[in-house]
Symmetry: C2
Subunit: 378 residues, 2 copies
């Protein structure tokens, strides 16, 4: 009886990780009737991450009411896994771009609700929190979330306030001594796959501001605000985070998670692999199947398939990558432990046409690999 572990990334714009798992499952079972299959849809921190963890590990979806992007009350959710030990929060659940649709304005929106979700999870007894960044509508660098948990932001008039993107420049002091006490005992992991620094040309405002509705003028203003915040964090918290990779993720939330909560920033796939106890699943696994929309030199620098290869190689389990396109320079992927790389492209057509047939082509590609393995008696 064969055991398969499925842990594909999404094919962006074509199939979700969960859809891919389910198509792979079918193709495997059509060939190995009694196969044991463990599916681990890969969360990337954005929308759908909580569901992905819940599907991979089981757990509880908690529904609660917190502040939305404009400080309005809204019902939202997070997940509790690992027998209540760990909470998974996607910041998009109460600070996500789809929540503001035609009211996009990163100068005004807040991550306050994200802090409330953290508080709720701690109150429910969670001792580890996984925070998914991505898909945010905010540029407050997590100051809202910090305020919700007790951080005190004072302006130059000595008044306490909750900063938003447009008022970061007004912060005169930050006091984290009032952060709720039990936060110190919590292990915080922030899933973060992007490298952007806090501010500057590659920073949060310049790169992600426009898609959140910022005009060129507002981008400059938001960028100045982030620079100002960086100076106050240096002065009051003694931390220099501006150029940390990922500080600029999710409107500076990457910076805020480290500065205010002492979170670790970690590759999404590493977080998933650790959380699902991937290494412990490997010893009796016959094949791991992964995949991503495109494998190339860029994905070799730290995306899903290679993250998995690092672990399957150590455990000596074959890793089959089923991908959309196979780019150039993949020699290194084999060196890093990928056993075989198979594209789902079966006919020479452009992406716009390939996309329409992707689900069927994925099925047929995995079906072919399974037939081949069966034929080889493997």
């Amino acid at each position: 009886m064969k055991k398969f572990l499925l842990i594909p990334d999404s094919f962006k714009g074509t199939m979700s990780s969960r859809e891919i798992c389910s198509i792979m499952e079918k193709a495997i079972l059509d060939n190995f009737l009694d196969a044991t299959i463990i599916s681990i849809p890969v969360a990337d921190g954005g929308e759908g991450s909580v569901d992905a963890f819940l599907q991979a590990m089981g757990g509880e979806k908690v529904v609660t009411t917190v502040k939305g992007p404009y400080f309005e009350d809204m019902e939202t959710f997070y997940g509790i896994i690992d027998n209540g030990h760990t909470a998974v929060i996607e910041m998009a659940a109460c600070a996500g771009l789809p929540l503001v649709e035609d009211r996009k304005n990163p100068a005004l929106t807040t991550t306050y609700g994200v802090g409330q979700l953290i508080a709720d999870a701690i109150a429910k007894g969670c001792r580890k929190i996984i925070m998914g960044l991505g898909g945010s509508c905010t540029n407050d660098a997590g100051t809202g979330a910090a305020a919700a948990l007790g951080a005190v932001f004072t302006n130059y008039n000595g008044n306490v306030f909750v900063p938003v993107g447009g008022t970061l420049k007004d912060i005169a002091h930050i006091d984290v001594s009032h952060l709720q006490h039990d936060l110190k005992e919590i292990e915080l992991i922030t899933m973060c796959d992007i490298d952007n620094p806090l501010y500057g040309e590659s920073g949060a405002a310049y790169i992600f501001g426009p898609q959140k509705g910022a005009t060129p003028d507002l981008v400059k203003e938001l960028d100045s605000g982030l620079q100002h915040l960086d100076q106050i964090i240096q002065a009051d918290l003694g931390l220099s985070l501006a150029s940390v990779k990922g500080a600029g993720a999710a409107g500076g939330m990457g910076c805020g998670m480290v500065a205010f909560f002492g979170s670790k920033l970690q590759m999404g796939i590493e977080t998933v692999l650790d959380t699902v106890h991937f290494d412990e699943l490997l010893p009796d696994t016959d094949y791991v199947l992964s995949g991503e929309g495109k494998i190339d030199t860029q994905s070799i620098r730290g995306k899903v398939v290679i993250g998995i290869a690092n672990r399957t190689k150590k455990a000596n389990v074959p890793l089959i990558a089923v991908v959309g396109d196979i780019g150039d320079g993949i020699e290194e992927a084999y060196a890093k432990g990928v056993s075989g790389i198979f594209s789902i492209n079966r006919v020479a057509v452009e992406y716009k046409d390939a996309k329409k047939r992707a689900k069927e082509d994925l099925y047929l590609t995995v079906d072919n690999i399974m037939r081949f393995l069966k034929r080889l008696g493997k």
Copy 2:
């Protein structure tokens, strides 16, 4: 030490069978350094068939002078393989379309030289002749070749003549009793992969006449000529061949090979497999690699890969198909014995772009399969 047998069809318009063999060889040797590889470029009967057989089996290329398409003397060639037992002739060598370029006229051109090549091979002691059809400029139904070997065609004035496409209608009688005596002892195999009947809408003149330079009026005339010939063959030789599949191949040469020389018409791939003694090569072979430009329901009805699968399945040797496009309805290919089907398409681009990168993509695809086999310890 692994043993591989390579026997790919050409990817029409992209790579010849021989090029594919050489790319596959490299990809295999890059992974299995001490592999034994037997390459059998697949001849389809057209131009290059003699070279393909010679490369696959070794042998001698005979250069000789015969009549060309317009009865002019020309130097051409055929191959002798199997220790002198078998000759391989491609009719295109002295009746091929490239020989007439701007003088195309299927009413005037002859297969006379093809008969001379047969005579030459017999004179050299060959006892089996493999005739490759394809790429011809003629529509004489092999009457020229028959005349060269002693068949006598008489017109309605009682005069002996050598018919061409435009004068088939003048044949009153055919006498094959003067065919050179030793022809009876010769085994003749005609490679023929097309199904067209001798005449009619799907016949030689209507389907292939235009590309040989026939105007619509001439097509009708050639078609009548073939109909007339059919009646004379029925009357004088007692054979009814018009609707035999392949009778219309190569300007009716399919019909002529059967009518005048008692040849067998046979699928090209079957001829190749028999000739290279494929079944005897299989027992200690680890993998057979084949391929074609596109595998689909049509190719399952008798093209290269499936012809090979029939044999590898019996011998229980895995057959890996590496193809351009994978069409629909290939379920049956697995049932017929193909172990795995891998497309060389690695990125979603149109054929015009895919074509340019085909050689590299073929290498990388076979390289990937070899890496995968090695990793599986197979």
